[in-house]
Symmetry: C2
Amino acid sequence: MALIVQKYGGTSVGSIERIEAVAEKVKRYREQGHRLVVVVSAMSGETDRLLGLARQISERPVPRELDVLLSTGEQVTIALLSMALEKRGVPARSYTGHQVHILTDNAHNKARIQEIDARKVREDLDAGRVVVVAGFQGVDEAGNITTLGRGGSDTTAVALAAALGADECQIFTDVDGVYTTDPRVVPEARRLDRITFEEMLEMASLGSKVLQIRAVEFAGKYNVPLRVLSSFEEGEGTLITYEDEDMENPLISGIAFNRDEAQITVLGVPDQPGIAAKLLGPVADANIEIDMIVQNVAPDGRTTDFTFTVNRGDYDKALEILKNVARELGAVEVSGDNRIVKISLVGVGMRSHAGIAATMFRALAEEGINIRMISTSEIKISVVVDEKYLELGVRALHEAFHLDQPAG
Amino acid sequence: MALIVQKYGGTSVGSIERIEAVAEKVKRYREQGHRLVVVVSAMSGETDRLLGLARQISERPVPRELDVLLSTGEQVTIALLSMALEKRGVPARSYTGHQVHILTDNAHNKARIQEIDARKVREDLDAGRVVVVAGFQGVDEAGNITTLGRGGSDTTAVALAAALGADECQIFTDVDGVYTTDPRVVPEARRLDRITFEEMLEMASLGSKVLQIRAVEFAGKYNVPLRVLSSFEEGEGTLITYEDEDMENPLISGIAFNRDEAQITVLGVPDQPGIAAKLLGPVADANIEIDMIVQNVAPDGRTTDFTFTVNRGDYDKALEILKNVARELGAVEVSGDNRIVKISLVGVGMRSHAGIAATMFRALAEEGINIRMISTSEIKISVVVDEKYLELGVRALHEAFHLDQPAG
């Protein structure tokens, strides 16, 4: 018998039939003796419908009122799920972000949770009720409704699990766990039974969008065991854990990739202190997110070369800004390519093992894939290659690191 | 410069275009120097959409959760209207029933307002903001969301006006005021500039469904001047006031009627104490509302005859119940007619004027209309006639009392 916080996303509660199916699932968990808190998102499509209404009024609706509007999406779901539970004889009670008192800062549309008063939830659990909580929303100190930004329901679930000291936080989604890589690219891709928080962070930020990165950070910070499972299929899913010293870590957990990348190179920038900030500041000011950054000393020794990647949608804008900045700074040349992709090897195990990079580069070379850029962290090696090599590269690495076979 | 509480119903905010039009209207009032609190309903159709979702799950959804669900309807409108106001440079702030703290009892789906903490509203008004409040909803002492039942938004507006000591509560609707009778029946029907609360209560309960009866009662109790106006046309509407001693009351204010009536007669009931309760109790227990009740001594002197009216939709059920009860009580006969209507003359003036009833009956007789039942109150005379005489009867009375001409 455990205290479990479950979270069901928009697709899992996307219709009345699916809400009934979630109620069935929750009922079964309860019959196994578990105490349950269920966090739900808005029914799929609902948030977009509401946003559409707001946009008919204004392209930039007042953030405070946008939160008042969007938070109704989850409120509808908690009511419907509670009705479906009660219909099955499962006592249930719904709570909005305000009612369960999920206190956030006042950054409307992207608020951060500061505190949860879980008293009411505990009382209901003690009374044998299933507690159904609206994800994605909270309330600031002045009582204004706030939202956590898209995908914030994962964070709500993790924060509730932390506040309640839950045994596990289960995120139900439309995939049945975290895979060694995208099964659509590599049919041999394997579901991982477990993965560390750090690996999950690298996987998430690299495009394996199973979980919201903020939720993973939050879970890591508060030591909440997190599990990703399928709403639609039975299975154990993938457990996301803290790195365990005793645990025999596989060298590599998975291969993430990102198709939406573009690369910009600035050649021959006079090498002086603060030059990186001068170059990249205007790009950041334009709200363009910069991903990889690589700097090399240029052949002449007095100038330096910068290469970095941005989201492909920002490419034209970033290139234009960079051309202006480069002219001011006296750089030699600005060039770019928006048909590149990033492939990353992720694994806590690579920390203590040499030779991972060499194996990676050799596997790519054997397929004739030219590496255009390399960036590394403690548990990740990323390379940028031509777009056309994406599938070939991912498959070659999956095979080279034997990811189709369970580790040790 | 006045403090005005305005209420816009579902049709008035039924689309983004209409919400924008309401924002324009509010802006104009504000530019005239008024301080404004605006209460809104759910966009028309939205409450039914939400009810439809709930009914897919259960024919009798848990009342607590139904309130959580339905209250989102108004929450959407307050957000959208506030956005539309802000877009026009009108500072605005929205509040849910919980946020403005409309405290109700815990009778879910039909809660009654107990108290309003108008502190926040006053602060916003002082800061020059328009305050936009969700109608129809509140919160009980335990923090559960409650709703006031259909049409409760009118009550919210009146209660806010009372709590704030507003100069006027304006109910914007799709008619431009209260008429002497239905203009679709009598083209000469005239909009009343003013009407007393008591008359309005009689008019409302008799089928002139311009205002919710509870709102009118509430306004009368707290002396809130209430005005009914059109959302779509300019005009002064109708002011609903307390009876003023100085005021020259017209004899008759208007003629109300109700098409949805059915009549049931029980003949020859043994005349004994408590017989009315024995007869009508089972009908009331079946949640059938009884309207007019007339009792007469039967010709034999030892039994009594009852006639009463119910809503036409309840006719078959009421008749069946009555037949059973009548058998038990030893009544002679039960008969009924579901093709009857009720026509009522309403006017505070009739209190102090004799001869009104005589004029009424004569006017009907001159048209050959047979009266089947009569019931009177201090400010109202109702008659039941055959359905086919409805229009003829209403027109005859409208003319007989010269309602097409402004009084005195």
